[in-house]
């Protein structure tokens, strides 16, 4: 051991490298660590490890971390810690530490390197299995380490074997189905107080094990008596361990116990030089070697009594403990500056309950245990109830308390939740631990039931005259202890957190200063501001340019699926609501896809490239889902169809030039192409060189305007875009983004799947009965159109909405009510909601699309839209606002 210097709450101390911060503070005589969250009561250290609920600290050195139990902070030179009064605070500097992840497949995962875990590791290693041993403490050996005893060499030797991986400081945070575990390994905090960038600070392990051994051990629990929270009142096993290691600020002690652990700890305290004034045992007739050993050490034993209350010195630390009968009577004080409490052991059942195993109550041990041995999971050691033969415990959680005493008898220290709070929950009729927890907040903070869970169930039982297992069972959720989010993220931060998909033209969009919109994983330019324009001004300008001159849009993100095979036409007839098999080569057609329930789930234009070769486009966000859908039908229903599907979204770049001057621009870009309406009609495709690159040009329009979509191999996308910008300079060529695209299509009443639809709209609801084939025998969704619910009157149907105030853009999602205005008293009938809403350059006013009950029959009807600060009135209209006659698409 070497001596290191550290700072706590601004004061400098020294301690032994590697000991816990809690131990070092005790060594320096510090008992009062912090004050409690809500009641400002002085608190010290209670426990040894992650069960600690009082001594929480913020670490300011190194990477920093809030709310760490001081019992789990390993001392290093230069450590800086602050007491955290119930609330942590994150450092306001960026954490530059590295975090990473690792995956392992093993035969056996052993959780816990105590004696029981090590024995299991040896057993499986001897069988030739690959074993990984994860233990959350710095050294292997479990309780033996705390007891200062030698861990048998034949067990420690196992950890160095070739088929065994041993990971100390590694906490298994979650156990899931099929033997899958997630663990976090602390790799640098114990080395020094530096920020490490050359290796990861925390590594998150994903382990798949054929078999998982849970050897998680147990925590000692406290007893609920009045003023049971003063500094100097500790769990007996923790107190004896600190004192035996030389971290001893105590002269006198009283041990309050329900089992023989208290006797063993009393002997350890006595051996370390603390005068043990008494062992107070709730049991009337304790026996066993541990009891005999305490008697031989000359320690006074008081049976049938327990702690009722405690008194404090001026500094707030404990001065004496009052001892009486469990009903609170005959209480008298015994002086002691350490009250060591042994309230029984609570096996760590967390991981077992994560996978749905219910702990069982062992009345002899007064503990919930998990005995399990199946192919996937087994339990050993204290978790399985193997406490050693000397351990009959009383089922006792605290004495009867007066109402004043109950106010200061703590059940969950960190939450400052008292027996009074608990009793109010019981008196209000709460019986289940889940209800008591929610009523009192017991077990909801850092503790998460580690110490308070069994105690609370025991208290409920005591109050109702039942055993704890009659109250219910313990259930926990991952993570086992708190984890920095950075550890779970690992390297998947910033750009790596989720793949970003960009088109070949993305660099141009970025250089132009266009803000990006996220569409799934795609980055799409939202609008292209000029001269400091805001979005509203930019979009109005872009819309006007498209309707009057020519605009250009990057449509490369549209999902594209190449479909080939002699039965492709027949297949598409089943997939789409309209007919495709009759489509002529070189032509495109818009199609709508429905699920078997008849609800629209995607749309797009599909082109017949040649007799047996088609190119389907899907919505930008729906491409992967549609491909799975096509493959499902081909592979599971119609394997006799010869059809092959391949995603080509990334392979093709699409540049759409849109507006009355697009014909002129197209002819400049492709001088060899006859762009007249007669030889290149709407929905037709032509192959031609565009700016020197072979391209497929399609006359498709999502705005109602004359438009050409230029499709080229992705690598040429940027070249085409730049050529369009250069050739169109004198035509007011205007790049536009997704917002303008949305406005233009809405002016034409074109729906966006996912905006006008939410999976509950049929084509008829969208006023698109024209796209539902009446000739085909069958297609997916057809039968559902005649279902009673889809055919009924009163379904929500797509309509337009015009607010009476044309300067007001109704918020999307706003609710519509029938025939009301600001003076109509409630209740008013809700009839639908706004799906799209914009200001329109073409209309010179705002407009909206909406889904309205029976809407198609209500055009002309007045509606109102109740907003928070006003009632907006308006009228139901047709959903097409611009060019109802489709005259503009041909230029």
């Amino acid at each position: 051991m070497s001596t290191v210097n550290f700072t706590f709450d601004g004061k400098r101390y020294s301690g032994e490298k590697g000991e816990s911060l809690a131990s070092a503070l005790l060594r320096n005589g510090v008992l009062h660590f912090t004050d409690s969250s809500y009641k400002n009561r002085p608190r010290g250290v209670m426990g040894l490890w992650v069960e600690e609920t009082n001594a929480l600290v913020n670490i300011d050195s190194g990477a920093g971390e809030p709310m760490k139990p001081a019992t789990t902070v390993e001392l290093v030179e230069g450590l800086v810690a602050r007491s955290a009064q119930g609330v942590g605070d994150l450092p306001d500097t960026r954490d530059n530490s590295r975090y990473d992840k690792a995956n392992r497949h093993v035969d056996v995962l052993v959780v816990g390197a105590g004696t029981a875990g090590l024995e299991e590791a040896k057993k499986f290693s001897d069988q030739g299995k690959s074993v990984i041993v994860m233990d959350d403490k710095p050294t292997a050996g479990g309780h033996l380490v705390y007891l200062g005893q030698r861990v048998p060499t034949e067990l420690l030797e196992v950890l160095a074997r070739e088929n065994v991986t041993y990971l100390p400081r590694t906490t298994v945070q979650g156990l899931y189905d099929q033997g899958f575990s997630v663990a976090t390994e602390r790799r640098t905090d114990h080395l020094d107080a530096k920020v490490h960038t050359e290796m990861s600070r925390i590594r998150t392990w994903h382990v798949r094990a054929e078999h998982t051994v849970l050897a998680t051990g147990a925590f000692q629990r406290h007893l609920v008596f009045a003023n049971n929270d003063r500094p100097g009142i500790m769990l007996s096993h923790a107190a004896a361990t600190y004192v035996a290691s030389g971290a001893n600020p105590f002269k006198t002690a009283v041990v309050v116990t329900v089992d023989n652990q208290g006797y063993r700890d009393a002997v350890r305290l006595s051996n370390a030089g603390v005068t043990v004034n008494a062992i107070v045992d709730i049991r009337k007739d304790p026996s066993g070697p541990s009891v005999d050993a305490a008697k031989s050490a000359g320690i006074q034993i008081i049976t049938g009594k327990t702690a009722i209350d405690s008194c404090a010195k001026d500094a707030g630390t404990v001065k004496c403990v009052s001892i009486g009968n469990p009903d609170g009577s005959d209480a008298a004080c015994i002086d002691s500056d350490l009250v060591a409490v042994s309230g029984g052991w609570t096996p760590i059942v967390h991981l077992a309950t994560f996978i749905g195993i219910k702990p069982t109550w062992d009345a002899k041990l007064a503990a919930f245990v998990v005995k399990r041995s199946d192919a996937l999971t087994s339990t050993v050691g204290m978790l399985a109830g193997e406490f050693g033969g000397d351990d009959d415990a009383a089922i006792f959680f605290g004495p009867k308390l007066s109402s004043e005493q109950a106010l200061v008898a703590f059940v969950d220290y960190q939450r400052d939740a008292t027996y009074r709070d608990f009793k109010r929950a019981i008196d209000a009729g709460m019986r289940s631990i889940e209800h008591v927890k929610r009523y009192t907040a017991i077990g909801t903070a850092h503790d998460q039931g580690k110490t308070s869970g069994t105690t609370t169930m025991g208290l409920i039982g005591q109050a109702l005259g039942k055993a704890p297992n009659e109250i219910g069972s313990l259930t926990f959720r991952p993570p086992y202890i708190s984890i920095p989010f950075a550890a779970l993220a690992g390297r998947d931060r910033g750009l790596l957190s989720d793949p970003e998909r960009t088109t070949p033209i993305h660099s141009w969009h970025v250089a132009s200063g266009a803000p990006m919109e996220d569409v799934g994983q795609w980055k799409r330019p939202w609008f292209f501001p000029k001269n400091g324009e805001n979005m509203h001004a930019a979009v109005l300008r872009e819309c006007a340019a498209v309707r009057e001159d020519v605009g250009v849009m990057d449509a490369s993100t549209l999902g594209k699926i190449d479909i080939q095979g002699k039965d492709a036409g027949q297949f598409l007839d089943m997939i789409y609501t309209n007919m495709f098999s009759t489509l002529k080569v070189g032509m495109s057609r818009y199609g709508l896809m429905c699920g078997v329930d008849g609800m629209v789930f995607d749309d797009g234009v599909t082109t017949r490239i040649s007799e047996n070769h088609w190119l389907m486009t899907t919505t930008t966000g729906g491409a992967a889902k549609v491909l799975d859908w096509l493959e499902e039908w081909l592979q599971t229903e119609w394997p006799h169809l010869e059809v092959y599907c391949t995603s080509v979204t990334e392979q093709i770049s699409t540049v759409a030039i849109v507006g009355p001057k697009s014909r002129e621009l197209m002819s400049r870009l492709a001088p060899a192409l006859d762009v007249t309406n007669e030889s290149f009609a709407f929905m037709e495709n032509k192959h031609a060189d565009v700016a020197g690159v072979p391209a497929r040009i399609a006359r498709i329009s999502f705005s109602g305007e004359l438009a050409y979509e230029i499709n080229v191999p992705a690598v040429h996308g940027l070249h085409i875009w730049e050529s369009v910008m250069a050739q169109g300079a004198d035509l007011n060529i205007t790049p536009y983004g997704t917002e303008t695209m949305h406005v233009l299509r809405a002016e034409k009443g074109f729906v966006i799947v996912g905006q006008e639809t939410d999976g509950t709209q049929t084509p008829q609801d969208l006023d698109m009965d024209w796209i539902v084939s009446k000739k085909k025998d069958d297609f997916i969704g057809k039968r559902s159109f005649s279902r009673a619910d889809t055919a009924r009157e009163g379904r929500h149907q797509l309509v337009g909405i015009l607010a009476d105030d044309g300067t007001y853009v109704i918020p999307e999602g706003a609710y519509l009510v029938a025939g009301a205005d600001a003076n109509t008293p409630p209740p008013v009938k809700h009839i639908g909601y706004i799906t799209s809403s914009y200001d329109s350059a073409a209309l010179g006013r705002s407009f909206a699309l909406a889904l309205v009950a029976n809407g198609l029959a209500r055009k002309g009807e007045k509606i109102a839209i109740p907003m928070a600060d006003r009632v907006v009135t308006g009228v139901i209209t047709d959903s097409v606002f611009v060019d109802k006659e489709n005259t503009r698409r041909d230029g």
């Binding site: 493959e631 499902e632 394997p639 069958d778």
Partner: protein
């Protein structure tokens, strides 16, 4: 994270797959002749058993093939997986 046995690629992480509901629910022939009740049974009603269930998955981020597999809905244990139109293995129960 489930570990799902693709009959073509072997066991892979759940993130590579998409779920396809219950297996062996065939698309009805002559759907126009079905009553609303019969059609609704195909569209909406699944057996939803507690225990072993044959279901459909697709290895979207792998071989892109659909297959069937036995899964225990109580503990997510997987039984044998098998290709569409092949002999269904017996339930592991």
């Amino acid at each position: 994270m489930l570990h799902i046995p693709c009959p073509y690629c072997g066991p892979r992480d759940e993130t590579e797959f998409h779920y396809g509901s219950e297996a062996h629910v065939g698309y009805p022939e002559n759907s126009s002749n079905l009553t609303d009740e019969e059609w609704a049974k195909f569209v909406f009603i699944r057996s939803n058993p507690k225990g072993w269930m044959a279901e459909r998955w697709v290895h979207s981020a792998g071989c892109r093939r659909w297959f069937n597999v036995w899964r225990n809905t109580i503990n997510h244990e997987f039984g044998p997986s098998y290709k569409p139109f092949s002999q269904q293995p017996k339930s592991p129960a």
